[in-house]
Each structure stands twice: as structure tokens, then as C-alpha cells.
């Protein structure tokens, strides 16, 4: 980094620091959530009911339309060719045979691709959504092993796949950096996240660690991971003059529309992105090169295009989670109280994106300590851009932190549950801000009781035939987030029905179901009077389905629109209404209409207001407040995880026998869908613990296991019955009292399993995944 850049960063950091301090010190009442959401107090509404998914009849019949299932007249199919070197230039590219193959409509390469801007890389602007910022088929340069170098369009997928196999390419290779170890030897650089270094220190952690009576210090490593949503990435793309229509599998429709507009030099209003159903996302279903290539090829061929990635294509084109090498050191006194926590290490990333896996995040909020030092360093490799994957940072950071705490508990002879409870902070450990709501201790007690933690035995002492049995625990953690840009439209019709529209997403979280419940309660309607529409970039709002923030963002957007709705309805109600003379602050929604808050007998129904005013409908839009609550309060979810495993003493195989998660995530909106989200996260965590690894060839930067046969995810026989419980204590500062739950499930699971393996065998494994070779 240059001196000028460093100075710029320092100034930006200082301004942000002043702003943050002002928001921290401002009165509670100035903040969103200062006055708790009125829905938190409602007890007998739709919120909290175990409602089956609204879309379930469609899904069990295979009738929910996914991105690769839109049929457009004249549509052709795309197939991609990938580079086989990591860096250099294309020397020769022979496409003649492919062009002559039956059914081929177009072969697009850097020689004939339309001129396009690079993708605006994610987080570089409010609506930037690109996975990298490289030129897309604009020149002969190769930046990673697997980069697309040709697109074939043909009348059928079979013809396209055949023709792409006829293309011949040769390369002039440049020296590439593809080995993490080699890159590290040359030196690391500070990891920057949104321009800020991932570096923090409170007190003097090194000195305090040295002086501590009890110490643990170790290096923990985690490999690369892929999201592996079962639906491969796909888009069905068409141009209508200078309008671009993209039926996408997306967790970011507004970001994708804006970014595609930038790339093709058209306005975001000219790009229409739909995504009614997404077959799993987990951070991977954002904007990558395939949507751009599909749109470019459709433009060139003058035909609509279906570009559905092969499973190999997903591994070549869509980034995954990067590897981490973490040093975790804890210094404590003899009673186990922490004096120092040091969490530092190195990750691999690329120059074309901005995602140093922030593994220090869980250590920023989980435990109190007078001295804390956190540092993420990076090395840059010539590889596919890595990206966000479920709980970026926490999923792998908790493996190091929660393993180290277990190691400390063992060395001090303290129960690891008690050690964790002992070190709970009374305020945010780094910022000193108050917690909005923190009930982790209750979660620990309830979980330990239900799991039977007190029956734990000494390491290596329990056997069941040839199986060594052990139990372990760990903390799960994920922050409450709400990103700027939320907005929603409410349309109320004269027959008393409401439709809410917001450019949000349904990837299986149960978004439409939970928010139908919320909107019903907020408007005083029944669920069947509410339609929740989403997944369309023409709808209001910039609402990323990421960071477990979608529920909060939708909630705050609907709160804003609801305010506008009350104002509009009061205007329409006029002087002949029981509501006459009341201000917006005195009125709420109740029983299908408006009512005076402290005198519900002054009530008029929506039907009556709209009928009397001769209106067919009323439509309003509201924009969510800026998310200042996250700076004023420390807002985090937590969980207490318990795991029982068996390790086969002959084969080293590890089987998970039981698992329990006890969570404190605020109010639970729908217990049925929430339990599924927790379980789903835990199961992905079992994969992270036991089997998942994207194997990367250090010599040439190529992913070696680009298939579901070689990259193992948990299958039915790997998954035991998983028990999930929660405190259900509303967070007074969050809309509906609910903190997001999409990501916390995966956090802590790796350590819970590793700690159970230690209890079973006495062996400490610090390198994921915990495959049998490490236990032989």
C-alpha cells in the first residue's frame, strides 16, 4: 500500500470513528429500535405459529419454477469452455470445427464478444454485486485456471456440449502464484474489508498472554469449501430491444440488475431480474461471469439464451470459501478468567475481489478479556475469486476459538461449559457498547440439561464395542445485521386484502411464509388476506439475502411502509370516521382496519375507509431507517452446541450420534421453518467438521474435485436426529424482536465435533476436515 492510500484510509477511519462514537453516545430514543417494535408485545397473532411453508404444495409437486425452467421462444442453449492454465494468454483458439457442428448458432470468444465493462465488485458500491472485477472475454488474458474462454450456443444442450468439445486452445503461460505456502514465504499483507484493515487491539495482548498463569496456543487450519447448492447456477436471458431480461437464481436481484446495467451501459431500470425460487444459495448465488456471458451471447446471437452451469462449471466459475490458517492463544488466571485472547492468521484471496475470510469475527463478541488482539493477513493467489459462504468468518473462526477454549478447559480441569459462562462479558468486549439482548447463559443451562451434559466422562474412557464415545460442546455466534437500502410497497385493496412487494429472496429460508405471518399481524389481517411478493428487481428495496439480515431488512421496510399507510388511510378516512381528528401516532392497525391505540372502540375497517372514499385501492411505499441500531447497541445471537460422537477404534471413522443446539436469537417467527434453518446450518457444519474440502492443486491452481462425487457433503446416513431449542426472548432493538437465523447454525459445529472427538479419543485434531486418517 502507498503512503497516500494509507493516509486516505486513516482519514476515512477517523471520520468513521467520530460518527460511530456519536451514534454510540446518542440517546436510545433516537435510534431505530429505541422504541421497541409494537409487534414484540403481541402474543396471540400469527407470529410464532408453526405455519407450513406457503410454497410447499408447489415444491412437493415440482411445480416451483427455477431459473433454468423459464421457456422463451427461440431460446438456445449455452455451453462453456474453461482455461486449463492459471495465468498467461490464449495463444491459439481454434473454433472452426465447433462453428460447423450441427445445431451451433454462435461461438463467442474474446475475438467477437461485445464490448462490456467489468463487473462492479461486491461492496465497492451500494448495489455492486459482482464476484470479481476482471474483464470478461475482452482480451486474451487468463487470470485463473478454469476461466471461461469460449461460449457455444446451439439449438439443444447436447449440440452445445458436443461442439464445445471440438474447440482447441493453446496458451502462453506466465508464472503464476498458486501455492499458499510459497506466497506466505514471500510475505503477507493486511487484510482489508470494505477498505478497513481487519486488525484490532485492546490493551496489550502479547504481554498479558506471556504473564498469564494458564496458557494455550495453537495453530488451526481450515480448507477451501464450496457452497454446493443442489441447483447449479443458471440464468435464462433475453434482450427486448435495449431491455435485458434475466430469469436468475439469485440472492441479490437489485444488485444484479444495477450491476448488469453498468456492464452493458444501460440503466438499471432497463434490466429486469426475476428470481422466484432459488435452489439453495448459501452466499454463492450472486452475480458471476455466467449471467454476463449469457447476456452477451444473447445480444450477439439475437436469441434468448439458457445458460445452466454444469456441476463442474459451478466449481470453475463460482468462488467458494477460502482456506484459513489461524493462531489462537488464550491466557487465563488459574480460575479460568481470560487475561488475553490473540486470534491472528493468514488467508488466501485474489486481487480481483475483496474478501479476506474474516475469521476473527467470533472473537470480537463472544468473550470478555482485558486484552484482545485480532489480525487477518492475506496472501494473493492467481485463482478463482473466493467469496462469502454461510457465516463467512464465524463458521471457520469458531473452529479455532472454540477448540482453544476446550483445550484451556482441559488444561485447567474446568468444565468447558462453566469456563464459557465464566468469561461472558457484561458489555461489548471491544466497543464497550451495551448488549441489546444477550441470554447465552440461559441457552447453555437449558442445553446442558436437555442433552445430559453432566454425564460426561474423562477423555478416552467410554466405549461401545469398537466405538470410542465422547461428547463435546462449543459456542455458536453470529451478529445481527441490517443493511441500508430496504424499502417496501403495500397495496391495500377495497376487499380488504393486502399485497406487500419487496425485492427480497426465497432460497428455502421460508421468507414468504414468515413475512406473510408478520405482515398479517402488522396489518391486523389473517394470513389468507396477505400476499407477500418478492424476487423481482422491479420491486422496491435493495435487500441482500445475506448476512442473516433479510428478515430485519424486510421487517424495517414494512414498518416504514406501514407508517405511510396509516397516514394515507387517515387522510382518506376524513371527518366522517370514528378516527376523525386523530394523528398518526395515536392510531394503529387492528382487526382489518385502523383503531385508536388506547381506545380500540374507535375503529374503522380498511374496507369501509376505501369504500367511503371511493377508492379501489391504496398503494404506499416506505424506506427503512438507516441501520444505526447496530452501532448503538452490540447485537448478537448465540447458541450452545452439544455433540455426541463415536470414533471407530479400528478404522478411525467418526460418526455423529446426537446433536443439540440451544439458541438465543431473539424471537422466533415460525418454529417450523426456524428449526429447519438451524438444523440445516448444523448439518452444513457437520460437513465442515468431517468431510468437506475443495481440493486445490497448488502446482497449477486447478480445483481437483469439481463434482459431488468427489466433494463430499453430509448424506442421510451422516445426519443423526438433531434437537433444536431456543430461548425465544425478543430483542427489543430488532424489528419483530427477531435476529436473523440463517447463518448461526453452521457456526461452532466444527469445534463441537472436534471437542467431542477429543473427549472420545484423547486426540486433538486442529486441521479440518476431521477425516479418519487424522485419527488412526
Amino acid at each position: 500500500m502507498s503512503i497516500a492510500e494509507e493516509a486516505k484510509l486513516a482519514v476515512r477511519g477517523a471520520i468513521q470513528g467520530v460518527m460511530e462514537k456519536a451514534i454510540e453516545l446518542a440517546p436510545d430514543s433516537w435510534m431505530p429500535g429505541g422504541k421497541p417494535d409494537s409487534l414484540i408485545a403481541t402474543k396471540h397473532g400469527s407470529i410464532g405459529a408453526s405455519v407450513p411453508r406457503i410454497d410447499s404444495p408447489l415444491k412437493v409437486q415440482g411445480k416451483a419454477p427455477f431459473a433454468a425452467e423459464f421457456e422463451l421462444p427461440g431460446m438456445v442453449y449455452a455451453a462453456l469452455m474453461f482455461s486449463t492454465v492459471a495465468k498467461g494468454r490464449i495463444a491459439t483458439l481454434d473454433t472452426a470445427q465447433a462453428e460447423a457442428a450441427p445445431g451451433v448458432v454462435l461461438v463467442m470468444t474474446h475475438r467477437n464478444a461485445p464490448r462490456m465493462e467489468s463487473m462492479p465488485v461486491f461492496l465497492s458500491a451500494e448495489k455492486a454485486g459482482g464476484g470479481d472485477n476482471l474483464p470478461i472475454m475482452q482480451d486474451d488474458r487468463i487470470h485463473w485456471n478454469g476461466q471461461p474462454i469460449a461460449v457455444v450456443l446451439a439449438e439443444t444442450q447436447e449440440q452445445a456440449d458436443y461442439a464445445v468439445a471440438l474447440i482447441r486452445a493453446s496458451y502462453e503461460q506466465d508464472a503464476a502464484t498458486t501455492s499458499f505456502a510459497t506466497a506466505k514465504r514471500k510475505g503477507t499483507e493486511p487484510g482489508l474489508f470494505m477498505g478497513q484493515p481487519l486488525k484490532t487491539e485492546k490493551g496489550s495482548a502479547d504481554a498479558a498472554f506471556k504473564a498469564s498463569a494458564a496458557k494455550v496456543e495453537a495453530t488451526y487450519t481450515t480448507p477451501r469449501h464450496n457452497h454446493n447448492a443442489i441447483e447449479p447456477h443458471a440464468a435464462t436471458v433475453a434482450w427486448d430491444g435495449d431491455r435485458l431480461i434475466v430469469h436468475d437464481a439469485s440472492q441479490a436481484v437489485a444488485h444484479t440488475a444495477w450491476s448488469l446495467g453498468k456492464i452493458f451501459g444501460i440503466s438499471e431500470q432497463q434490466v429486469h431480474v426475476t428470481s422466484p425460487f432459488v435452489g439453495g444459495g448459501f452466499g454463492g448465488k450472486c452475480l458471476w461471469q455466467h449471467q454476463v456471458l449469457g447476456a452477451a451471447a444473447a445480444k450477439l446471437a439475437g436469441r434468448p439464451v439458457r445458460i445452466a452451469l454444469s456441476r463442474e462449471g459451478v466449481y470453475r466459475l463460482i468462488g467458494g470459501r477460502t482456506l484459513t490458517e489461524q493462531r489462537l492463544a488464550i491466557g487465563a488466571d488459574q480460575d479460568g478468567r481470560f487475561n488475553a485472547i490473540i486470534h491472528s492468521g493468514t488467508v488466501a484471496t485474489t486481487r480481483q475481489n475483496g474478501m479476506p475470510e474474516p475469521f476473527i469475527l467470533p472473537t470480537m463478541s463472544s468473550y470478555g478479556s482485558p486484552n484482545i488482539k485480532l489480525d487477518v493477513e492475506v496472501v494473493y493467489l492467481d485463482m478463482l475469486a473466493n467469496t462469502f459462504m454461510r457465516a463467512p468468518g464465524e463458521s471457520v473462526g469458531t473452529f479455532a476459538l472454540e477448540s482453544a477454549i476446550d483445550e484451556l478447559a482441559v488444561s485447567l480441569g474446568i468444565d468447558p461449559v462453566e469456563l464459557r459462562i465464566l468469561n461472558q462479558p457484561s458489555e461489548d468486549p471491544l466497543k464497550g457498547t451495551p448488549f441489546s439482548s444477550r441470554h447465552i447463559t440461559e441457552a447453555w443451562r437449558a442445553g446442558a440439561e436437555k442433552f445430559g451434559w453432566s454425564k460426561r466422562s474423562a477423555p478416552g474412557t467410554v466405549r461401545d464395542g469398537e466405538w470410542q464415545i465422547g461428547i463435546g460442546c462449543a459456542t455458536a455466534t453470529y451478529p445481527y445485521h441490517r443493511m441500508p437500502g430496504g424499502a417496501a410497497r403495500i397495496t391495500l385493496t377495497r376487499d380488504g386484502y393486502a399485497r406487500v412487494e419487496i425485492a427480497a429472496h426465497e432460497m428455502g429460508m421460508g421468507t414468504a411464509t414468515a413475512h406473510t405471518q408478520v405482515v398479517a399481524d402488522r396489518l391486523g389481517l389473517s394470513r389468507d388476506q396477505v400476499t407477500f411478493a418478492y424476487g423481482d428487481s422491479l420491486m422496491p428495496g435493495v435487500v441482500l439475502a445475506g448476512g442473516s439480515q433479510q428478515t430485519a431488512s424486510i421487517g424495517a421496510s414494512v414498518i416504514a411502509a406501514h407508517h405511510v399507510l396509516i397516514k394515507e388511510l387517515l387522510k382518506l378516512a376524513g371527518n366522517d370516521s370514528p378516527l376523525a381528528g386523530l394523528g398518526t401516532d395515536e392510531v394503529g392497525t387492528l382487526n382489518g382496519g385502523l383503531a385508536k391505540l388506547d381506545d380500540p372502540s374507535r375503529h374503522e375497517s380498511y374496507v369501509s375507509i376505501l369504500t367511503r372514499s371511493g377508492r379501489d385501492h391504496v398503494a404506499v411505499e416506505g424506506s427503512a431507517s438507516a441501520p444505526l441500531e447496530t452501532m448503538h447497541w452490540s447485537m448478537h445471537s448465540f447458541g450452545a452446541l452439544f455433540c455426541e460422537i463415536g470414533v471407530n477404534s479400528v478404522t478411525g471413522e467418526t460418526r455423529v450420534r446426537r446433536f443439540l443446539g440451544s439458541y438465543d436469537c431473539g424471537r422466533i417467527l415460525n418454529p417450523k421453518t426456524a428449526a429447519s434453518q438451524f438444523r440445516g446450518g448444523i448439518i452444513m457444519g457437520l460437513g465442515l467438521a468431517l468431510m468437506e474440502e475443495t481440493q486445490f492443486d497448488d502446482r497449477n491452481g486447478r480445483v481437483m474435485n469439481p463434482s459431488l462425487a468427489e466433494y463430499h457433503v453430509p448424506v442421510h446416513l451422516d445426519v443423526p436426529p438433531i434437537d433444536v431449542i431456543w430461548t425465544d426472548i425478543p430483542d427489543p432493538r430488532a424489528p419483530m424482536g427477531a435476529r436473523g437465523i440463517g447463518e448461526i447454525g453452521i457456526t461452532g459445529v466444527g469445534a463441537a465435533v472436534a471437542n467431542a472427538v477429543f473427549n472420545a479419543t484423547g486426540k486433538r485434531v486442529r486441521d479440518l476436515p476431521l477425516t479418519l486418517d487424522k485419527l488412526m
Binding site: A68, E158, I683
Partner: protein, 178 residues
């Protein structure tokens, strides 16, 4: 397969009770025939190499992964997809059980899970042993959660609905198996 098939039936594949012509391109998989020619999108493409089970359909009552099977192989045979499971009386009991037990989240692996489970239940009934069957010599295989989990392990789910899927299958088939 029956012996008295007519020439017309040989040239056609019966899909959910309707005869469909065999495709001209012999490279076309049964999966692509269903999805791209017949627009039966309920059968999903997750990997196109037999590793995920999302494309599972029933051929003459047995479950197969339709991505690893060429359409032309199925002339004269009867294919049931997820679209063919519900009847005029409503959803198949297993489809209903999947809803009740929340046996899915995104819904992409769901049609394959359901078709696979229908085929699996028939295998159990026929006494076909699995990797976890204790007594391989017996004609009868007892219904158990482990048998179901083992036999369903070819159907991947990434959202993590495994518990709900096994509960839905157990509720639907456990009693019938006794």
C-alpha cells in the same frame, strides 16, 4: 417389460400415463427429454452425473437417476415423475408428509427425494437388503430409521432437511411395512 408390446408402444415412452415419442438424438438423456422436450421441469438436474439424486424418477416402479440413462433406452417402458404422483384425489401421502414434516427448504432436491422414497419403500417391501441390513439371508427387511437413512443416502440435500425427510418417509411407510 411385457411380451405383447405393439410396435407403436416400442417406439414410445409412456410418461405419467401418456405415450411420448422417443427422441431423434440418441445422446439425449431421459432427464433432458423430460425437462427440455416435454417441459416436465419437476425432475431436477443437480449434477448430471449420478451423484446427487435430484433427477430420480420411477421406471416400471424402480427408481433410477434419469441423468445417467439415455431416453432411447426407455422405449416401451413406463416412467413416473413427480408430476405423476398426485392423482385426482390430491397429493400422494408422501408429498403431504413432506409438507407436514418440513422435509425441504429450497425444494430443489425434493422431487428426487420423494420419487426415490417411493421406489425405496417398494425395495424394502420386496426384502432387498442394504449395507446396514443385519440378516442378509432373510426375505424380510425390517423398516428402521437406519435402513431408510442408508437407502436414501443417494439423494443429497444441501439445505439440511434430512431429519424432516426421514420423518416424512417413516410416517408414510413404517406402518405399512409392519
Amino acid at each position: 417389460m411385457t411380451a405383447d408390446r405393439s410396435a407403436a408402444a416400442i417406439a414410445a415412452i409412456r410418461i405419467n400415463g401418456v405415450d411420448c415419442p422417443v427422441p431423434a438424438d440418441p445422446r439425449m438423456s431421459l432427464l433432458d427429454l423430460l425437462r427440455e422436450t416435454l417441459h416436465l421441469h419437476g425432475t431436477k438436474k443437480g449434477c448430471n452425473q449420478g451423484a446427487c439424486g435430484a433427477c430420480t424418477v420411477l421406471v416400471d416402479g424402480e427408481r433410477i437417476v434419469s441423468c445417467l440413462s439415455l431416453a432411447v433406452q426407455h422405449a416401451g417402458r413406463s416412467v413416473t415423475t413427480i408430476e405423476g404422483l398426485a392423482d385426482q384425489h390430491g397429493l400422494h401421502p408422501l408429498q403431504q408428509a413432506f409438507i407436514e414434516h418440513d422435509g425441504f427448504q429450497c425444494g430443489y432436491c425434493t422431487p428426487g427425494q420423494i420419487c426415490s422414497a417411493v421406489g425405496m419403500a417398494a425395495e424394502l417391501k420386496r426384502g432387498v437388503p442394504s449395507h446396514v441390513t443385519q440378516d442378509l439371508a432373510s426375505d424380510h427387511v425390517a423398516f428402521s430409521p437406519d435402513e431408510v437413512r442408508e437407502r436414501m443416502s443417494g439423494n443429497l440435500c444441501r439445505c439440511g432437511a434430512h431429519n424432516g425427510i426421514i420423518d416424512a418417509i417413516s410416517e408414510t411407510y413404517a406402518e405399512a411395512a409392519e
